[in-house]
Structures are given as structure tokens and as C-alpha cells.
């Protein structure tokens, strides 16, 4: 039994180490891809970012709205409904914005990246590139990785902004919180550091989500079943990694 645990642990270590090396190689190729193949990156920003904008905005609106509702109904008991803005703002900017955007990104863009690369591998497109002396890492993996890393902070900002407007809509327009109180309380309570915390988180989550999606696709078993499994693993592992890192970053910053 201990031997099984040892073997599993060793397998995990090997996987993890290989992924770190993979990340280093992605970073190593990043400057040359950014300079020479920028159009590939642009296309991936479109693919991962621009096409995710609708789901991000709709989710943001409703998450913000429900935060406004919950905050209002609880704060009303203390006659403190004017501080709904603080509650919604802190929650959205520091935690919910980055985390939910990362989870949505994993579901919407991460899966498509993983399955696309996995299918390329299953149909021997990656091998064909290698035969033509074209490095698939440089032409397939790096642009997708960079596209995700660039998109995530922007998506998070859009999500948070729409969320704040959603909370405003519910709290101010529906429930009758004073509009001045909502924004003024929010502005006086939030510091620049809080916004930076959200941005740092979104960048880290962007790196995690894109790396995992590209890695899983790149290392999938080249069969129909393998691609499916890689897609599932992308979502599961990204969700866990994002939540763990969220805790760690919060503990580190506070």
C-alpha cells in the first residue's frame, strides 16, 4: 500500500515538474512570438477573450445583482443599507470578480483550448508541424497561452465593472438605496491596494488557467477518449488550482 502511495506521489511530482518546465519553455519563447508572430496572439485574444465577453457580462450582471440583494436584505436589519456599495464592491473587486471570471474562463476558453490542441495532436497535426521543422510549441502552444494571459485581466475588469453596475441596479434602482451613498461609501472604503489585489489575482489566475489548458491539451492521449478526458481535467484542475491560489494570495497580501 505504501508502495502505491509512493508511486502515485512520484507520478504527481513528475507531472508537476514537467508542467513547470513546460511553463518555463512557454515563457522562454514568449518574446520571440510576441515580436514575430503577433497576429497569432491577436487571434487567440479574440478566441479566448472577445468570444467570452458575452458570458462574462451576463454572469457579472447577475452575480452583482444577487450580491446587492443579499447585502441589502442583511444590512437593512442594522439600518446600514447605505453600505451595500462597500459590501458589493469589496466582494466583487477582491474575490468574486477574479475567481468567477477564472472559473468561467476555464469553462468557456480553457476547454476549447485543451480540446483544440488535443484534437490537433490526435489528428497528427502537431507531428506534421514537427516534420516540417515548425516548432508546435512556438506556433500552437505559446500564442494560445499568451492569448489567455492577456485576456484574463481584461475579462476580470469587465466582470467586476458590470457586477458593480448590477449591484447598483438592484440596490439603487430596485431597492431604493441612495445613489450618492452607494458610490460615496464605496469610494471612501476602497483603497487602490484593493483594486491592485484584484488585478494581481486576475493575472495569476490567467497564467494558471491558460497554462493548465495548454498543458492538458498538449499532453492528452491522442484518442477521442483522451481528448475528452483532457478537457474534463482542465476544468477540474483549474478550478482547484484557482481556489487554492486565491486563498494563498489573499493570505499573502493581507
Amino acid at each position: 500500500m505504501f508502495r502505491d502511495i509512493y508511486v502515485t506521489f512520484q507520478g504527481f511530482l513528475r507531472n508537476f515538474g514537467a508542467m513547470c518546465l513546460f511553463l518555463l519553455r512557454l515563457v522562454q519563447y514568449t518574446p520571440s512570438v510576441l515580436v514575430k508572430r503577433f497576429s497569432l496572439v491577436t487571434y487567440q485574444v479574440y478566441n479566448a477573450g472577445a468570444l467570452s465577453i458575452v458570458i462574462i457580462m451576463i454572469s457579472g450582471l447577475f452575480v452583482g445583482g444577487v450580491l446587492g440583494l443579499q447585502a441589502y436584505s442583511n444590512l437593512e436589519r442594522f439600518n446600514a443599507e447605505d453600505t451595500t456599495g462597500i459590501f458589493a464592491g469589496f466582494a466583487l473587486i477582491k474575490e468574486i470578480g477574479p475567481v468567477i471570471t477564472a472559473l468561467l474562463f476555464a469553462g468557456r476558453a480553457g476547454t476549447s483550448l485543451a480540446s483544440e490542441i488535443g484534437l490537433m495532436k490526435a489528428t497528427d497535426q502537431l507531428s506534421a508541424m514537427e516534420m516540417m521543422a515548425v516548432d508546435p510549441l512556438r506556433y500552437v502552444a505559446v500564442p494560445r497561452f499568451l492569448g489567455g494571459v492577456i485576456s484574463m485581466p481584461l475579462l476580470t475588469a469587465v466582470f467586476t465593472t458590470v457586477g458593480l453596475l448590477g449591484a447598483h441596479l438592484v440596490a439603487v434602482e430596485l431597492l431604493g438605496v441612495d445613489v450618492g451613498a452607494y458610490w460615496q461609501q464605496l469610494q471612501s472604503a476602497l483603497d487602490m491596494e484593493d483594486v491592485y489585489e484584484g488585478i494581481i489575482k486576475s493575472v495569476v489566475f490567467g497564467i494558471i488557467a491558460s497554462l493548465l489548458a495548454v498543458w492538458e491539451g498538449y499532453n492528452s492521449v491522442p484518442t477521442a477518449e483522451g481528448v475528452g478526458r483532457a478537457t474534463t481535467r482542465t476544468v477540474v484542475i483549474t478550478a482547484i488550482a484557482v481556489l487554492v491560489f486565491d486563498f494563498m494570495i489573499t493570505a499573502w497580501i493581507l
Partner: protein
């Protein structure tokens, strides 16, 4: 060709939205209560009790933030708290017999230093000390006094 154009327009729109949202978050959601002056002068004040005053707390006069607390330390010689704060140099006409008190923003808000103008013809300058101070009101003390002996009328200040 048509597809490239759609893609370019979409990407541009996305980038614009994202940057606009970032701009909104950094400018509209944070208050400009952060004091930021290029030239300042330092003033000290001694308090019996600073309550929960913290570094970077605002120093305000007539409700306008004119400075920020830079240091709070304890003077074991006089057994008092010494608070240093910087004031924006453009406010160089504050009478030197002004009164500094530690106030609370709102019922449960954070504490800040409020300056009340005096009548002196001499002004506060770098290194001067505010002589008239009023300590922070500690809520627990008031409640305690109220519970034990009615309203706190004989508070020694």
C-alpha cells in the same frame, strides 16, 4: 477577408472594453481621500490617549484633508503618545495655537485628527508642536462610566 475584419473588430472592441473597465475600477471605485502633496512640513502633537489612530490617518481642518499621520510613538519620559503628521505646504497659515483632537468618522468609522483654528498671529511651521490636544474618546470608557455613575460629567481633560 471578411472574417479577418470581424475578428479584428471583435478583438479591438474587447480590448477597448477591458481597458475601459480597468480604468473605471482604478479611478471611480477608489476614493481620492489619499493625501498626496509634494511639499509638506512636519508637526508634532502629544496626546494622553490616541485610541486606535493609525499611521496614514488623515489630518483634516474644517473637514478638508490637509495632511496625514506619519508616525505614532510613545514617549516614556512624559508618558504621552507623540503623533507626528505632515501638512501640505500650501496651508502655511494655520495659527500655532490651533487645537488638535482625535475624532471618529461616523459612529464606527476610522479615527482621524481634526484641527480647529486658534487665534494666534504665528503660524505652524516645520518642527512645531500643537500644544492644545484632546485625546481620543474611547467608547468603552464612556459606556463604563455611564453604567457605573450616570453621564460622564467629571471627565478630566
Amino acid at each position: 477577408m471578411q472574417q479577418t475584419r470581424t475578428m479584428e473588430v471583435g478583438t479591438g472592441l474587447f480590448a477597448l472594453l477591458g481597458i475601459g473597465a480597468l480604468f473605471f475600477l482604478t479611478t471611480q471605485t477608489t476614493g481620492n481621500n489619499d493625501f498626496d502633496a509634494e511639499e509638506t512640513f512636519t508637526v508634532e502633537a502629544r496626546f494622553d490617549n490616541v485610541g486606535s489612530l493609525k499611521k496614514r490617518a488623515p489630518v483634516s481642518m474644517s473637514g478638508v484633508t490637509i495632511g496625514r499621520v506619519t508616525d505614532i510613538r510613545f514617549d516614556s519620559g512624559s508618558l504621552e503618545a507623540v503623533v507626528s503628521f505632515v501638512v501640505d505646504s500650501q496651508y502655511d497659515q494655520i495659527p500655532d495655537d490651533s487645537d488638535a483632537s482625535i475624532l471618529t468618522a461616523g459612529l464606527l468609522g476610522s479615527q482621524y485628527i481634526g484641527l480647529t483654528a486658534g487665534g494666534s498671529e504665528f503660524y505652524l511651521e516645520d518642527g512645531s508642536e500643537v500644544l492644545f490636544t484632546q485625546s481620543a474618546i474611547v467608547l468603552e470608557n464612556i459606556i463604563g462610566k455611564f453604567l457605573i455613575g450616570g453621564p460622564p460629567q467629571d471627565e478630566e481633560e
